[in-house]
C-alpha cells in the first residue's frame, strides 16, 4: 500500500473515525457488547446443548470486538484488521444465515448470524456492508480527513 511509504505512523491522522464513522463505531460497539454478553450467558449456562452454535457465537462476538477496536484505531495495520474482521463477519452472516434457513437442523440453537441476524434486527447483515463501504471510502492516507 503506497501510504506505507508516504506517511510514517506518527504523522497519520489521529482518528480514523470521525463524523458519521462514529455512529458506525457506536453501533459496532453495541453489537459487540450484545454478542459478547449473550455468548457469555450461553456458554456459562448451556454450552453442552449446542457446542458448535455457542462456540461460533463466541467467535463472532470476539471478532466484533476486534472489528470495533480496529475501526477506532488509526493506521494501515488496523485498517487491514478492520477489513479482515468485517469481511469475516460478512462471510459468517451469509454462510450461517443461509445454512440456518436451508438446513435448520445444522443450527438448532440461535447464533448471532442465524437467519441473517434476525434476532439482532438484521444489524449483523447490514453492518458489514456499511463497514466495508466506509472503509473503502476512508483509506488511511497521509493528511487525509
Amino acid at each position: 500500500m503506497e501510504s506505507l511509504q508516504s506517511a510514517p505512523p506518527e504523522t497519520r491522522t489521529p482518528t480514523t473515525m470521525s463524523g458519521i464513522g462514529r455512529v458506525l463505531v457506536a453501533v459496532y460497539g453495541v453489537l459487540a457488547l450484545a454478542a459478547l454478553g449473550r455468548s457469555f450467558v450461553q456458554i456459562v449456562s448451556k454450552y453442552e446443548e449446542a457446542p458448535l452454535a455457542y462456540a461460533l457465537s463466541a467467535l463472532a462476538a470476539v471478532v466484533y470486538v476486534v472489528a470495533t477496536i480496529a475501526l477506532v484505531r488509526p493506521g494501515v495495520v488496523w485498517y487491514r484488521v478492520a477489513w479482515a474482521t468485517i469481511a469475516f463477519e460478512f462471510t459468517g452472516v451469509i454462510v450461517v444465515g443461509t445454512l440456518s434457513i436451508v438446513d435448520p437442523a445444522l443450527f438448532p440453537h440461535d447464533t448471532v448470524w442465524s437467519w441473517f441476524g434476525r434476532g439482532y434486527l438484521f444489524i449483523p447483515l447490514v453492518l458489514p456492508v456499511l463497514g466495508m463501504w466506509w472503509l473503502a471510502k476512508h483509506r488511511p492516507t497521509a493528511g487525509a480527513e
Binding site: G19, R22, A26, L33, G37, R38, V41, V44
Partner: protein, 122 residues
C-alpha cells in the same frame, strides 16, 4: 422487575433515543437537553438495578435466566455513560446521533429484560 416501571423506562429510552437521532440528524451538537435525556435514561437503569436486587426478596423473581437478565442490565448501564463520554470528547452532530443509538439500544435491552423476567420460562 416491576412491570409498569419497565414500560416507563422503555418509553423514556425510546423517546430520548428518537429525540437525539432527530436533533443529531438536524445538525445539533450534544446539548444539555440531549445529554440530560441520556442522564435520565441512566438514572432509570440505576433504579432498575436497585429494583432487580430487591424484588426477589419480595417474591418477585425472574421467570427466565437471572444470569441473562443481569448481563443485559449491566450492559445497558454501561451504554449511556460511554456514549456521553464520547460525546464530550468530540462534539459534533454525530455525537448526538451516537447518544440516540445508545438510548435506543437501552430500550431494546429493557424490552429483552422484561421478556426474560416475565415470559421467558412461563
Amino acid at each position: 422487575m416491576i412491570e409498569w416501571f419497565a414500560w416507563v423506562q422503555l418509553a423514556v429510552a425510546v423517546t430520548a433515543g428518537l429525540l437525539c437521532l432527530v436533533l443529531g440528524f438536524a445538525g445539533r451538537v450534544p446539548s444539555d437537553l440531549t445529554l440530560g435525556a441520556l442522564a435520565v435514561v441512566e438514572l432509570l437503569i440505576l433504579v432498575q438495578i436497585v429494583i432487580a436486587i430487591a424484588a426477589p426478596a419480595f417474591g418477585n423473581s425472574p421467570t427466565g435466566s437471572a444470569l441473562e437478565f443481569w448481563v443485559y442490565l449491566v450492559s445497558a448501564a454501561l451504554l449511556p455513560p460511554a456514549a456521553a463520554f464520547w460525546a464530550l470528547l468530540e462534539r459534533n452532530r454525530w455525537s448526538t446521533v451516537v447518544l440516540g443509538v445508545a438510548a435506543l439500544s437501552v430500550g431494546v435491552m429493557v424490552y429483552r429484560m422484561l421478556q426474560i423476567w416475565t415470559v421467558q420460562s412461563v
